[in-house]
Structures are given as C-alpha cells and as structure tokens.
Symmetry: C2
Subunit: 345 residues, 2 copies
DNA sequence: TGTTAGCACTCACTTTTAACGAGTGCTAAT
DNA sequence: ATTAGCACTCGTTAAAAGTGAGTGCTAACA
C-alpha cells in the first residue's frame, strides 16, 4: 500500500505533468505549499514509486512522468469529483436553451459543446437504428422510374434513398402500396422491417396481381443496405488535437487524425458496450495502435434505461481527467434530458 | 520573350521540383538527356530566368525552385494536356460502373475517386438548392405535436426537418393541407418556396378556418433556415495532406487542415463562379492566408448548361498540375454524365 | 528510524567550431 | 555564344564543449 505522503507526491506529479507537459523534478515539488518535506525525501519516495511502476523517467537526468499504470492509479483513486463551478453549471444549462428537435442535430450540437467545454476532440456514436420502430414509410415517384423512399421512425429519425426501377411506378400504385404498408408495418422494429416488408409486398402483389417484383427487389436491396449501415459518428473539435504539445510532431499526430476520419474503425473501437457509467482507457488500454498515446473517456447515454450510444472524449494520455470526467458527466445529464424530450412516444 | 532554351530549362526545373521537392541545380539539369548544353550555360540562363522572377533560390548555394510566377507561367504555357493512359481511361469508366442514384452519394463518391486518382485532397461543392424545384412535400405528424416535414426536389434531393408545434396536428389535417400544398406548389423553385408557401397556407386557413397559424410560423422558420443553408461541401482524401513533404511541419499543416474543416470558409472560397472551364490558383492567388502554400485546381460541373457546383483539388504549390488537370477533366466528364442520368425531368 | 544536506554523476540540450559539398557567379579561353 | 575553371557562399552535418536540471547515494542529524 501507498503511504499518504506517496499518494500526495504521486498526485502532485500527475497534476503537475498534466498542467505543464514537463517532467516533474523533486525540487519543483518541494517548493509546493502543500509539501513540507525536502527534495531529498521526495527523491526517496519517487524511487519507491518508480519501483512500483507508477512513474518513470524519460531519461536519467529528467524529472518523473506518470506511467500508464500511474495514470490508471490516479484515475481510479486520486481524482476528486470536483463539482462544476456555479457559473459553468449555469452556462451548461443555457447551452441547450433552445431545444433541438432532431436527434441528429442535437447529437452534433452536443459533440461541439463537449469539445468546447474540454478543449479536446469529441466523438459521439449515434443511436443504433435497428432498435427503432417504423413510424411512416413514403414512396415518392420521380420521373423515369426513379422512386424516392422515405422512412421515418417513431423518434423522428428520417432516412431516405432513391431507387431506379425498370418501369415507372404510377402515383396511384405507389400511394396504394404505401397506405397498405403503413397500415401493417407501423411500429415494426427496423431490424425486422426487411423481412416483414418483403412478405407484405408479396401478399400485396398476389392480392392485386400487380407488377411489383422489381419494386420489391429494389426495396430489398435498400433495406439490406440500411440494415448493415452503422450508426453515424459525429465529431467535435478536431482541431483541438493541434494544441496538444505531444502532437506537435506530424508522425504522432497523423495516425490519430487518420483514425478519427475512419468511421468504421472508430465504430469498432467505440461500440463495445460498457458496464460502468464512465469508462476511461489509457494509452495501450485502447487496444488500438493509433491511440497508444491517447486516452479516451467514454460514457453511454441512454433514455429510460435503454442504452442508445456513446459519448467520448479523446486527448493525450496527459489529459485533464478531472475536467474531462466532470464535463462529460454534466453534459451527459443535460444531453439525456434533451434527448428524452425528443423521444416521447 | 523567352527563348526555346529558356522554356526548356524552366519546364525542366518545374518538372523536376514537382517530382523531387528538392531545389534543382544546374549540374543536375545538365545531366538530363534532353539537355545538350553545359551547366555553365544553364547557370547563365537561370540567372536570366531569376531576373524575370520565374525562379528563385531558397538561399545562395541552393538550386533553383519555381516562384509563384514560375508556376503560373508553367501552368499557362508549358503544360501539355497529356492524354490519359488507356488503362487509366478504362479504370475511370469502370469507376462509375454501377450507377449511384442519389446525387448526394454520387458527389461523395466522386470526391473520393478524385482524391484516389490524384493523391490530393479534394473538395466538392454541392449544387445550390435554391434553383431546384419542389417535387413533393410531406408532413408526417409524430407524437406530442412534433411534425416531420419532408421535401423532395425534382432531382430527387431530400431535405427534412422536425418541428415542434404547440398542439398536435391531426393526421387528417396534415394530409389535407399537404395535398393542397402539393397541388399548388409542385414545380416551385426553392428560392420562391417560402413566400408562396406562406401565402398558400394563409389562403388554406381562410378557406377552412383551421388553426394553422403555428404551423405556418413553424414552416416559415424551417424554410428560412433552409434558404440560408449553404450547399454542402464534400471532402475526399484529407489524409493525403500528410504525405506532402511541405506539410511535415505541423505549423504548415494546421492552417490548411483547419480551413478544410470549416464549411463556411470553404464555401466563401469556392463559391465565386468561374468563367473558364478550369481555374487554377497558386499560393497567394488564393487570397486566403491558410492556403498561401497551396494550389487549387477548380472546375465547374454543370448539366445541360446549368452550372451546379464546383469540383476542386487542393495540394501544395508544388503539385502535379499536369496530372491534376487531366484527372479533373476526365473525372468531370464521367461525373457529369452520371449526374445527367439522375437529373432527367 | 526517518529526514535532510551535500556531492558526484548523468544526460538531454545548447552552443561552438570545423569540415563538407552542392551550387553559384564571374572570368577568361574557345 | 559557349564552356571550362575557380573562388566563394551557405546550408547541412558532425563532433566537441559547456550548461544545468535532476538523480542516487552517503553521511550526518533529530
């Protein structure tokens, strides 16, 4: 176990390093007001902390920096859930002053807010669509056999796609088919929609003996596509990466920025579900090579107990965990409140 | 005027520098197979070219690099419109092998293709929506007074927005209003839609004495919004910037990447209309500080004589203009063909 | 026994110096 | 007009020397 003094020193080292990005020496620490013992004592303690693997030195004659294990310990034991300042709390409330009606916009807005709040890059994984239920389907024939299909879920999420049919679909046929489909399919979860839709079209065809084979094929393709599509990922504050001293080197910066641009990779990284309310992964804990010098703070957002997506914050390992965690917690609250407003059934 | 030999030397310098990113010396040039004269002669000619402002030296004992004026001259007079190789032409054709029905996707796809083809970052300014005509309007009531409004243009472009009304709109009222609006407003250019829509709703209200004030207000807000919204900008190959030796320095890279993320700034930059088929701006000609070390190749795309948007290629001043221009020309052709297919009325 | 002062040692970082060489401009010979 | 020759420039690289922040260890101290 660590003594109180060791805890104090470890915390001081991490705090200092987070603030300055410079290795912290024993003399610097000894000058702090909350440190009553000498630099030599600190050196002794540091040697012990290093032996435990909590801190390390970049080279012989430098100060100490936290190791990954050190950050881990700091995050697990040394963070004090500093409550947000009153003015910040006020600011946070006013952020959502005017409601955002569409979830898409709301999410984008939230990503931007969080990055503004923390000065880190943010990722927001949008809700999975499979779970949502169909509210309305609309077929709108265009010229030359092109048809726009619009799908609205109960939460107001809108998807659309344009198909090309071999022959024009008449407005009447479209409206008849649509009316029928809406009657029977409303409330179907999107995950089942494809199967049920095909079935329904088949039935419709046999009853009306209309030529809807092509339409059904086209719809099938569309919905298959739909089904495989992953939730959107929204990014905020990409440029914040540039401000971090650890990413002044293009070689360090590049893999991170490249990863961030890849929806699929990000999705794979973010999608695993979390048990805890808040998950923090540090450096190699991310299991992604591009993020080996980064830390990620993640939180699930949910409405009425249903987990919908992920809110994440990405920065250097030397990120301000305290501020990050607090910001994400508070924003999460406000965000979920807004989201609930939009998701009333 | 420049002598043939000077032209040869200038072209050789630019070509070489584009390829190697290293200042070109007289000795290097004298070794080229198409150069029959000595390095001393080349030095004399170089001195003249430098006096004319076409080339410059980074420092006394370095070779020469093209000045902005030099690039300008090269682009205006020395580029040979090298026709694309047969295999590339074939590849280009197969790129659009399976049609993309939606313009949005088509544009995104094109941006990606162009960046793959050239290894530069690409920007595509989407078509202005104002000019498009309304094909169909759909009001879909959700729970709690929320209404999704979906707008489809004749080209199959879909916009949607969710509004919050003070009281629920009944399905019947919605469908009556919608039918009426579609009858009277189909074919209205989006630029006039707002005014005409308001008028129409007012008339509808007086005829049916229904409570649609709120709806009309909400629609007004939506459409105003819509109207002010700028065309989307699609990006391709952002990561290509990392490969350019001139952008290995974060200080150089940052402003460019930051600019690219700003829709508004990019819009202002790209939107001015072009007289020519292809416009090339070099360094300070861009009139944007962030792009002072970049060159941009732009081309308007249009269908049936109507200019719709811009296709652009962005790279270092030392970019391969020849390849860039050729790629953009050829892709432009294929892109417009696809676009025309989708825009049949 | 825990703490601290003192001191030799390490090593990144900075500055200095020197050597190198690619490239130039000029001059004189062809 | 062209070119060979040569002195000169200057960025680049490498080696050398100096600086200083920081450490580990030891011995003295409370």
């Amino acid at each position: 176990m660590l003594t109180d003094r060791q805890l104090l020193i470890l915390r001081a080292i991490v705090d200092d390093y987070i603030k300055t990005a410079q290795p912290v020496g024993s003399r610097t620490l000894s000058k702090r007001s909350d440190v009553t013992f000498s630099s030599a004592t600190i050196r002794n303690e540091m040697a012990d902390l290093e032996e435990m693997g909590l801190i390390e030195k970049p080279h012989t004659s430098a100060g100490r920096i936290p190791s990954e294990l050190g950050y881990r310990f700091y995050v697990d034991h040394l963070i004090r859930p500093e409550s947000i300042s009153p003015q910040e709390a006020k600011a946070l409330k006013s952020l959502f002053a005017h409601s955002v009606n569409e979830n898409d916009r709301l999410i984008r807005h939230t990503a931007d807010l969080l990055s503004e709040l923390t000065h880190y890059t943010t990722l927001v994984l949008g809700p999975k669509e499979e779970g949502q239920r169909l509210h309305h389907l609309e077929l709108i024939p265009l010229a030359e056999g092109r048809v726009v299909i619009v799908l609205v879920t109960e939460t107001g999420h809108v998807e659309h796609k344009t198909l090309q049919l071999a022959e024009a679909l008449s407005r009447e046929a479209a409206s008849r088919l649509m009316e029928r489909l809406n009657q029977t399919l409303r409330g179907t979860p999107l995950s089942q929609l494809r199967l049920r839709l095909l079935e329904e079209i088949r039935r419709f065809r046999s009853e009306h003996s209309e030529q809807t084979t092509l339409l059904s094929k086209a719809l099938d393709i569309v919905l298959t596509d739909q089904h495989e599509e992953r939730p959107l990922i929204y990014l905020g504050g990409k440029a914040n990466m540039f401000d971090q001293p650890e990413f002044q080197d293009v070689a360090k910066l590049r893999p991170v920025l490249e990863l961030i641009e890849q929806q699929e990779a990000l999705f794979d990284f973010l999608s695993p579900s979390l048990d805890n309310q808040i998950l923090i992964t540090i450096g190699s804990e991310n299991n992604v090579d591009a993020l080996k010098d980064c830390s990620v703070i993640r939180a699930h957002y949910s409405v009425d107990g249903v987990s919908l997506g992920t809110l994440a914050l990405i920065g250097p390992k030397r990120m301000d965990y305290n501020r990050g965690i607090n910001s994400i917690i508070h924003l999460l609250q406000a965000f979920q409140t807004e989201l609930r407003k939009n998701n009333l059934d």
